[in-house]
């Protein structure tokens, strides 16, 4: 792929670190639409990778491949340097890969606690341990400075920002090693955005690899270490954050970077 050659990984000190997750030549086609046309990407521990690109550039598809929601048609995924073949989100979760989906993937008819523990309910014997889940949920939300008045309220009764906060709390609270966030701040209020950015910096410090997809360019410069730019299903550029600026990134996104 010629597009892959265009990418210039500014490998500095980070190159010595074994990537937690390594994607090689990922292809994904939906019908006649080539969503991904050979993408290589390394994700390193303790690093935040910003994934940017125009709408339909393949950011979400790529992130869903990482999260196991989509299985790539071609290409290889390595986890800790070893080939990994996960074919569904459950297997990805077992590898500690967590994702905040753009559509949040919440169940509106279930209460806040239930959504936070969706798919890994705490149990006492054969029964759900509501008391312990409530206490844990309280702790999870407090750690992220998320304020939700009633944890037993159904999610359908909450605001868009509160729902987004729940989706983030769900992904961030179960010791992820790779945390993918697809537009996590689009519906958040000022204070909540700050909390999310702080959260990203905090989990980075713990060695978690974060992949952040966002349209808010100013956020990238506050948390990201490296930026990958997607264009029409390929990765066209990769920059260390200190080597780039807003204007260059914008040019790369709209396709003016190829000189």
């Amino acid at each position: 792929m010629s597009a892959a050659a265009l990418a210039q990984p500014h490998d500095s000190a980070a190159a010595d670190v074994v990537p937690i997750l390594s994607l090689h030549d990922i292809h994904k086609t939906f019908g006649s639409h080539q969503a991904l046309r050979g993408v290589d990407l390394d994700i390193r521990p303790g690093e935040c990778l910003g994934l940017i690109g125009d709408n339909a550039a393949g950011k979400s598809t790529l992130s869903k491949v990482i999260a196991g929601t989509y299985v790539p048609d071609e290409g290889a995924i390595k986890v800790d340097g070893r080939p990994a073949h996960y074919t569904n989100p459950l297997e990805a979760r077992e590898l500690n890969i967590e994702m905040v989906y753009q559509d949040l993937a919440l169940c509106n008819h279930i209460d806040v606690v239930g959504n936070l523990f969706l798919g890994r309910e705490l149990k006492r014997g054969p029964f759900l341990d509501q008391k312990r889940m409530l206490a844990e949920a309280d702790r999870m939300l407090a750690a992220l400075e998320i304020r939700i008045p009633r944890l037993t309220a159904k999610v359908e009764n909450l605001s868009g920002g509160q729902r987004q906060a729940i989706a983030i709390a769900r992904a961030a609270s179960f010791q992820p090693r790779v945390l993918i966030m697809d537009e996590p701040t689009s519906a958040l209020a000022v204070a909540e955005v700050e909390a999310v950015l702080e959260l990203i910096n905090r989990v980075k410090a713990k060695g978690v690899a974060v992949v952040l997809i966002t349209h808010r360019m100013q956020d990238l410069f506050r948390v990201c270490d490296r930026i990958a730019v997607m264009y029409e299903g390929t990765k066209v550029a990769e920059r260390m954050i200190e080597d780039t600026n807003l204007q260059e990134l914008v040019d790369l996104v709209v396709g003016k970077g190829g000189h």
Partner: protein, 334 residues
């Protein structure tokens, strides 16, 4: 200068009432029905008649509990009446062929699970709408029952223990009713307190989300039809035990009564919501209306008209009133 104040939280009672509005309204409707029929006929409130009502409601309640799970996944099972008829006929044939009744019961439960499993497989793994699959089931299963019996009723003889299931009593309460209560309690606990119940609701609420958080979404979706199949087998056995025979004409219009009971109880056809308590109240309401109309010497055919009307009105209330999140009392202004 800005002063920061916390928003007052409303009374928890108002939250409780608005969350359970549907169960409260069906409970009210049920009490109204009771009051109406006891005013119209002095025999209605006698213990003999009430025991009769619960005995006859038992098969409906057992299948309605399972149907609550099905509808909570935003599915529907139209084949339950035909499945009851088929198993009802088969159990009579099997016992007539000399199989001992406990083994016959085991076989019937297995048969129900198997038929439900086939339907569930088409719905969940092949993506055919539940309406279509179970409509086909409605025709196929009734047809199979008619084919096997050639339309005749098959008597069951010399199976005392078997008859006890349909006619027996424990401390004055009919066995089928006790069994139905047991099933309802089981359904309530499963939906409220277990992972499986949570999975059923999740699949009905947002199947893709359920899959993404690692739930076996397809398997859960298929499983509710297996549960419905087993419930149909239990209902069919109770019917056969009460009447002492098996017939391909059993349980005519049964699916309508069951679906009416569930939607009347406030379980939403859109999925993601299940109210076991509502289903119990809905079933009892349907049973009381059927019984009350007969006591009033109104044509039994009229019950069908009433059942249909109830379905329509219940769904109408479901979509028009409750989806708007209406509240009792005025909203407090901040």
């Amino acid at each position: 200068m800005a002063t920061y104040t916390e928003r007052q939280s409303g009374s928890w009672l108002a939250d409780l009432v608005s969350e359970h509005a549907q169960v409260l309204s069906i409970a009210l409707f049920f009490l109204l029905c009771l009051a109406f029929f006891s005013a119209m006929n002095p025999n209605f409130l006698t213990s003999g008649n009430l025991l009769n009502v619960v005995r006859q409601a038992a098969p409906i309640l057992i299948v309605a509990v399972a149907m609550t799970l099905v509808i909570a996944t935003s599915g529907i099972d139209l084949s339950v009446g035909s499945m009851v008829a088929l198993i009802n006929a088969t159990v009579a044939i099997v016992i007539a062929a000399g199989v001992s009744w406990p083994i016959a019961i085991m076989l019937m439960l297995l048969m129900g699970a198997l038929i439900g499993g086939v339907q569930g497989w088409f719905i969940s793994y092949q993506g055919i709408p539940a309406f279509i699959v179970t409509l086909a089931g409605l025709s196929i299963l009734r047809g199979a029952a008619l084919f096997m019996t050639e339309g005749y009723s098959i008597p069951i003889r010399d199976a005392g223990g078997f008859f006890w299931l349909g006619r027996g009593e424990i401390v004055g309460l009919p066995v089928p009713a006790l069994l139905a209560v047991l099933v309802a309690v089981l359904g309530f606990v499963v939906m409220r307190r277990t992972t499986y119940g949570r999975q059923v609701i999740s699949v009905g609420s947002n199947m893709e989300a359920a899959r993404r958080v690692g739930m076996p979404a397809r398997r859960v979706l298929a499983s509710v039809y297996v549960v419905a199949g087993i419930a149909c087998a239990v209902a069919a056995i109770l019917l056969a035990a009460r009447l002492g025979s098996g017939s391909s004409n059993a349980a005519q219009g049964f699916e309508l009564q069951v679906i009416a009971a569930v939607v009347l109880g406030g379980t939403a056809l859109q999925g993601g919501k299940a109210s076991m308590l509502g289903t119990v109240l809905g079933t009892m309401t349907i049973a009381v209306i059927g019984n009350g109309l007969i006591l009033m010497h109104i044509s039994p055919f009229f019950t069908q008209i009433v059942t249909g009307t109830i379905i329509l009105v219940a769904i109408w209330m479901n979509t028009r009133l409750f989806d708007r999140r209406w509240r009792l009392g005025k909203r407090k202004t901040a």
